[in-house]
Symmetry: C2
Subunit: 400 residues, 2 copies
């Protein structure tokens, strides 16, 4: 295990596999279950680090893929690393870039060596091997880094997103033997993890997490978990789950995977999701989450509330003097910014709209985590369910 | 004089016409000389009201023109007025919309009745008379409102800006008898002011300022000032000076105009300008300013410093770990955000770049006003000149 990252479990839920913990990092600790805002290009879009901190966020995520392209991982290293560069003093996690290579780039080639893709900045050919993914993250300098994985979608065939946006890839996916492809990805992910562990040059101050693949296939998830946990790592992630599955598929995959991950290491569910996905995953023993939803939706006038989502561009908010959500203690709601004013800002294309709704949404997710922690501590899921109707506790607790 | 607005002069400079004062409004008072950030559409672009306040700004300006088009002045009135709408608790001034009608819109018609122009939102035909300009501002509800004026450019012929951007208007301007046009504007402005005074329905809680026109012509400025000051108003503005003149033209026009304005009312120089324009105007007895420069330049990576302006997109800042300006106490500089990081934000098109540089620039102008006030109080202009080399005290103090 890395000396960089520690994990302490303080309490476990009586009726579920949920637990309360603290992860220690070289830049301070954070409470789990934790939600990490996504700061793709070394900035949570439109927000000062102090504002992000004030939403209750203790750890953030940056995308290695974007930063390696611009300003470049060596440039960030030369500026003192990503903490100094973006002025976030708390813990930071970076992903490996593998998921972005899959979801955003034109992949030119996927071989045992790694992936090759076209840069979205200048079209140049970029090679990302396990060794290079670790080098990038060693240069960026976050507290937690992620292994490069082979992450095909966990659902059979192409997701709706891929169908709609990337017809070529969708055709290729439809032709594949899906289980065969998932199996190959599991074994390649294991071989790549081996290479990542060997390539890691900063185990003293950066913890490397391995990633479990296997799609929705329980045999493959088990096999992947067994392979990945052969390495004594400070944390383990569940990958390949944010590709268009429905809520119950996500919950099932997470539940069957967490059983094969050690109790004494933090478990990180990558890229998920909506409130009920988080709650179900916590009840299966997941400790860490990241998702772009609060900030991406926020930029597009989509506000989260405990009773559902609002689209603030809607004309029905034109004369609405109320806050996004009564009782919310975020900067937007407590500051008295009305739905009518927020609608005006979005109609006028003013930056302050995205900022205020992003702040609200981040606070929404951090309040969710606070209440989730209380529910674990007190085993009070019925109290929780009344406070968070949007979370709809439809999944069976694993202990039931 | 309006009961809404009070003005107290606390001290006058020994060697210049500069003075220190306080303007009282229904939403609190502000110190003069004062710089007002511009919040065009009921938001200082990208900044929370609390952040604007923390730059030292005590009063802001909103544009009636933009707000009457969207969301509409009645809509703002129905939301409780512009203070409640945008959550700015301090004093607010709105302009009349006349300048925007000139500078932004396709003017269809300019008659004794008013101006008619095309809406930039939906192309509809909008009529702006003196009565309507006051009605709009009565509806919006700021503390200080401005009379509708006829404001042709003060320079003979079209400005560089108009030449470059609006060739049709430039041709028309070149054909005009300039002094004749200015004279007509002066007299029309006086007749419109009369109508504005009669139309004003909220003198108990909104102060109406009149505007002096007359271009760079001293006879016309005197005539306009005499006409406008026949009305006992709580303040008087100098208009028609932000249309492309050079620094010495601005200083001359201001100096000759202030002489005809009463000592016991605040004087407001509209839409000006760079640091040395402000300093020269203060030394001629001006008390209030507004300008888009700090926020507009800030959004485009243009940072103000005491030694000149920086373009932060420039490649030379790529490896620059220093703040925008050493010794600056703004959120960007004191927060440790480096020039290299700011350049990255602008290169990546990230909102945080405009926000941080706008905050820096607003603080720059508010620190300028603080130091200007100290220079007036202590008659210490040589100390001031050393602290603000960018202000270049080239203009002759009127007392010299």
């Amino acid at each position: 295990m890395s000396e960089a990252i520690g994990f302490t479990v303080h309490a476990s839920c009586a009726s579920t596999r949920g637990r309360l913990g603290t992860v220690q990092t070289p830049h301070g600790s954070f409470s789990t279950p934790a939600f990490m805002p996504v700061g793709t290009r070394a900035t949570i879009k439109g927000l000062l680090p102090t504002q992000v901190r004030e939403t209750g966020s203790e750890i953030i995520l940056n995308n290695a893929y974007h930063l390696m392209l611009r300003p470049g991982d060596e440039a960030v290293r030369n500026r003192g690393g990503v903490h100094a560069f973006m002025r976030w003093e708390g813990p930071i996690l970076t992903d490996s870039g593998g998921y972005q290579a899959w979801s955003m780039a034109d992949i030119n080639d996927l071989t045992e060596e790694g992936v090759t893709f076209k840069s979205i900045i200048d079209g140049s050919r970029i090679a990302l091997s396990p060794e290079r993914a670790i080098e990038v993250q060693n240069n960026l300098g976050p507290d937690i880094i992620m292994a490069l994985d082979d992450c095909p979608p966990s659902t059979a065939g192409p997701s709706d997103h891929v169908e709609a946006r990337r017809p070529k890839l969708a055709r290729a996916l439809r032709k594949q033997d899906h289980v065969g492809r998932l199996e190959a990805a599991v074994d390649r992910t294991a071989r790549w993890l081996e290479r990542c562990v060997l390539a890691h040059r900063r185990p003293h101050d950066q913890g490397l997490f391995g990633i479990v693949q296997g799609g929705g296939n329980s045999d493959l998830r088990k096999r992947s978990a067994e392979q990945v946990t052969q390495h004594d790592l400070p944390g383990y992630a569940i990958g390949g789950v944010a590709g268009g599955e429905d809520h119950s598929q996500i919950a099932e995959t997470v539940e069957l995977t967490t059983e094969f991950l050690p109790e004494d290491r933090p478990r990180y569910l990558m890229g998920v999701g909506y409130e009920r996905d988080l709650v179900a995953a916590v009840r299966s023993g997941v400790d860490m989450f990241d998702c772009v939803l609060p900030t991406r939706n926020g930029r597009n006038a989509g506000a989260f509330t405990r009773h559902g989502r609002l689209q603030l561009r809607n004309a029905r908010f034109k004369d609405d003097d109320g806050p996004i959500e009564a009782g919310c203690d975020c900067v937007a709601c407590e500051g008295g910014f009305s739905r009518a004013y927020l609608r005006h800002l979005f109609q006028a294309g003013e930056m302050l709209g995205p900022q205020l709704v992003s702040l609200h949404n981040l606070r929404h997710f951090q309040r969710l985590m606070l209440d989730i922690r209380a529910a674990i501590r007190d085993d009070a899921w019925s109290v929780f369910a009344r406070a968070w109707p949007v979370a709809e506790l439809t999944t069976t607790p694993s202990g039931a």
